[in-house]
């Protein structure tokens, strides 16, 4: 362990170099997060409260996911961080550089090489394997919050599996719009027991939570909650027999960069001409497809 005397390096130009714990957060905090994460895995879909720590980014910017990543990561890991599918957006770059700085781990943009992937609002397009861990940043972990503002009451509803108000909410949505209008944050039933918020991933990604090979961990720093979906777990989007869940429809559209027509697409509108073009949301997969085509 680091001694206090090692924290200050006064012999080198009188400059002060702080020495952080490995992965920034102290070992006591890691132990608590690890204990809670194990309970989350044992009770799929249940939100385990934890003592969310202050991080050097503001709450609401991925601190829950970041704390999970920091409690997991070791020197053998290869880290990938994405934000809305992109490795290059500000949130992803900042978090990746921060974790790199406090752990010296390798980083990658290649989904297949990564052992730990932290994500904001997407699941990478490429198949995630057994042994990989996907960490989600979660803004609002409580799926019942839209129908019940009280935390005590939502906790009771989960305890009793009393989800009638959620079903009524979905039914009223159908009456109003002729289908369930929820886009991102589509509620799912985990292991036939808990309704869970899958974080603001698009509907496109929801079926990939079901019977996956990989472990999914969810961290909500502001709301102080950790939850999990272990591999090979039943995850079903809420739906009615006569109003089935469906994913976004991109039929007839393809990525203007790589040409793929089987990925989740971002719509870009040219302000001047008003024309719409589509590109893959998963930028590293798009670039990989382009490279493979070029060969």
């Amino acid at each position: 362990m680091v001694k206090f005397s090692d924290w200050f390096d006064s012999s080198l130009n009188a400059s002060i170099h702080a020495v952080y714990s490995f992965a920034f957060i102290d070992e006591g905090a890691k132990r608590e997060i690890r204990r809670k994460t194990l309970k989350a895995v044992a009770i799929p879909g249940y939100q385990v409260p934890f003592g969310s720590r202050d991080m050097p980014v503001a709450r609401g910017w991925g601190t829950g996911g970041l704390q999970l990543t920091l409690s997991l990561i070791g020197t053998d890991d290869i880290l990938k961080v994405i934000d809305q599918g992109s490795d290059e957006s500000v949130n992803a770059v900042n978090i990746r550089q921060f974790v790199e700085r406090v752990t010296s781990v390798q980083t990658t943009e290649d989904t297949t090489r990564a052992t730990v992937i932290q994500t904001r609002h997407r699941i990478p397009e490429e198949h995630l394997k057994d042994g990989q861990i996907l960490v989600f940043q979660v803004p609002i972990p409580e799926p019942l919050r839209d129908v019940e503002p009280s935390e005590r009451e939502t906790r009771r509803m989960h305890a009793e599996a009393d989800y009638s108000r959620m079903w009524l909410f979905l039914y009223e949505d159908i009456v109003r719009y002729r289908e369930i209008s929820i886009g991102a944050r589509y509620p799912v039933m985990v292991n036939g027991r808990y309704i869970m918020d899958p974080s603001p991933i698009p509907r496109w990604d929801v079926p990939r939570l079901h019977q996956a090979d990989t472990l999914y961990l969810f961290g909500a720093g502001r709301e102080k909650r950790i939850y999990a979906i272990p591999p090979h777990t039943r995850v079903e989007p809420l739906e009615f027999e006569d109003h089935r869940f469906r994913v976004e429809d991109f039929s007839g559209r393809r990525c203007t960069r790589c040409g793929r027509d089987d990925t989740y697409l971002d719509e870009l509108i040219d302000d001047a001409s008003g024309t719409r073009v589509y590109t893959c949301s998963d930028t590293s997969y798009c670039a990989k497809t382009e490279r493979e085509k070029a060969v």
Partner: protein
Amino acid sequence: MQLHAPVVPTQAIYRQMLQALSHPGRLYSLDLREWDSPLLAVCQTLFDHEVSYCVLPGGNNEWENEIFAATKARRAPLSEADYLIVGGHESRGKVSQAKVGEPTFPDQGATVFYVMDAPLANNSALRLSGPGIEREACPAVNPLTEAEWRLLRDLNAEFPLGADAFCLIGENQIMGLPRSTKIRIG
């Protein structure tokens, strides 16, 4: 200049515990470079003054003091402890008194560590299913007596209430048995 301290070896232990609990019935190996026993490794990974533990009769007499010296966790009666430590393949019914949590906070259920030198003979009638298991599977080895399997099955019958278990087998192997695992015998 490197701004951080070296990684603490409990990180590698935790990762194997996490994989073991995510894949019930599979065997994983712990990297025990820093420890003489897998029990102290998992205790130092998870325990501190915020949690309590109870070594059940039949375990090694020195475990209680060794764990306290290594972690400063609190000793507690069986029915109140966050972690139970069982020496061998069964608790002779004692684990049925473990905390199972409240309906609103099922995560307060206990975690049980079974510590054994070697597994028992395979029980071909045993089947596990549930989260972490593709369809249905036999555990890689059989760490518990049939009575203890039945006890865990009954303890976790009111899921999400229940207790989670880890079996520490031999020098460095670990198997996870979360409460979500359905146990079928015969």
